[in-house]
Point group: C2
Chain length 372, copies 2
Amino acid sequence: MEHWNHAHALLLAGGKGTRFWPLSREDHPKQLLRLFSDRPLVEETYQRILPVIPSERVQIATSTALSTRLMAMFPDIPASNLIVEPVPRNTAPCIAVAAQRSLRRDPDAILVVLPSDHYVADRAAFLEVLHAAVVHAGRREIVTLGVTPTHPETGYGYIRFGEFEEEPADPAGPPGPPPEVRHRARRIQAFVEKPDAETALSYLKAGRYLWNSGIFVFRADVILDKMRLHLPDLVAAVEDLARAVDEGASPDAIAAVWGRMPDISIDYGVMEKADGLVVIPASFGWSDVGSWRALTAFPTDDRDNFVHGRVVALESRGNVLYSTHGFLAVLGLDNTVVVVTRGAVLVCPVERTQDVKSLVAELKKRGLDELL
Amino acid sequence: MEHWNHAHALLLAGGKGTRFWPLSREDHPKQLLRLFSDRPLVEETYQRILPVIPSERVQIATSTALSTRLMAMFPDIPASNLIVEPVPRNTAPCIAVAAQRSLRRDPDAILVVLPSDHYVADRAAFLEVLHAAVVHAGRREIVTLGVTPTHPETGYGYIRFGEFEEEPADPAGPPGPPPEVRHRARRIQAFVEKPDAETALSYLKAGRYLWNSGIFVFRADVILDKMRLHLPDLVAAVEDLARAVDEGASPDAIAAVWGRMPDISIDYGVMEKADGLVVIPASFGWSDVGSWRALTAFPTDDRDNFVHGRVVALESRGNVLYSTHGFLAVLGLDNTVVVVTRGAVLVCPVERTQDVKSLVAELKKRGLDELL
């Protein structure tokens, strides 16, 4: 499948994230957590694409603080593939830099942009959809993966889609229906903000709304063209950055160039302004793992509990029971999150986990910095 | 107040107790827990009576396993005041031994029998009632302290009382109404088993039922006379034990004598059979601290939480939050027990804490002995 030959990946691994406290800490953000296996989420993301995109074409955007640990985690990825943000910026600058660098190596480069801290249950299904996306991107389309909703989730942004795209032909595809027939792209009509419960239910019933997975696929030259249109300052700064790196500029000079980049997401900066965007509806068991609650969608026992570590749960249902440090016993407990880590324990109802962020803010206010 | 001159105390500190797991362990039973202060419950019990009964008249009945630790905890109590049970027996044998030993030292000895793992909020009120009990006991009555119920508790045994006793005169009492006028003894009509919820409510409304505190006061010779009547084998064994100790018998020989004592409580063995028993109704903020739930009756913050250790509770109500090891944060949590100890954490609803015992049995069944 020669489409993969031009595919480059960008893992977005710069997030901080306090919503998984006490497992996530300031120096140990969500993408490093081993939530679903003994591998950090960022490593699972990397392993997920490795069958189709080789290490030397995987770039990782991250913070200065995390860059050393990520390089150690991925010895097969060339150090020059790391995009280190000296000042925290949003997704658009990282994607612009990655697109510019990919384009230098391959004028036909297709960039697959992947959040590094999401969950995918079915890798084969994921790769099949991704293949369809790469085919579409090869036709100069800007493609997003949209996840078919399984419940009226209020924590996700939605994408409303319209008619089918015309089918692309896949010259290298196998006989029988090519994957892209099963995963037909749709015109995007609108990106929609996180809805309230009632609206989310209406989206679910309407059948024309998908969860915005944050996974984008496009040709590098195409996204840079769009950015030149909508974010010209960003593209100028990215070109300055390339020059500075080529000339061996000092870290301070490089940081100064980063500092001039706009702090804006690809969603706001490009996607919601550009036209001709398509979405591929997909179902591969996806979650953005936005809070502890998200784990309840992937129970590990027959009483709807998500259990990790040394845990005994008696007569307990619908809990997230996560211990990295010592033994946890629960009895007659329902719909509760219990996280046991070295030095800090959290207990809260499942429906309150979106407020863990506020709890962390409160701990900071009380000067309990050693816990954060 | 010369009545105290004949008062001897017996602290019952032989209990094992699994209902405070994971704070209580097999080698660290409830009476050693620091639930309400930085002192173990047994030490609080000792300190509570120290203003009226000096150390040299305090006996402690306990197991072989705990005896060394208790001797270290109470250096002022003579080693010979320790009653060490080589084989676990119930309360009647310990009381018989203590009565026999007290009687040897003082023919008018009055024995105050105190569980060592209960909670008393108001020490002054407690001592005032105890004084009245000692006065009654001096008149050869068998006295129990009965706690006026504050709620329809199903976890306690009850005492149904009848008419007032005739008032004793207190020759050494201060001017004004002597304490025993405020704490008039009542004839006991019956000891009643733990009731169900409906019955407990009817007891509360009836106004003639008191909680059985397990605190007894009687002359040593009087209780031994009762035991000769109802438990003659026990009294014979106690006399054998005294002889064996006097003669410097081997530990094995002493254990053999203990082994011959009946395994029976003072309640079943004597109290429920004897007549002429009286109860003094009292209110001094009492709990037998039978399970984690009991702590909810003594909240430490203004949201009805019982909090111990490094805990932050946000928007949380009616919980027991107890940490001896590390930080505990709860958010939006109600009516839940969370206990954080080194190596083990327990979470369960307040209304399930009576089942912690079953949880511990389950852990034992699973071979998790290192946690018990």
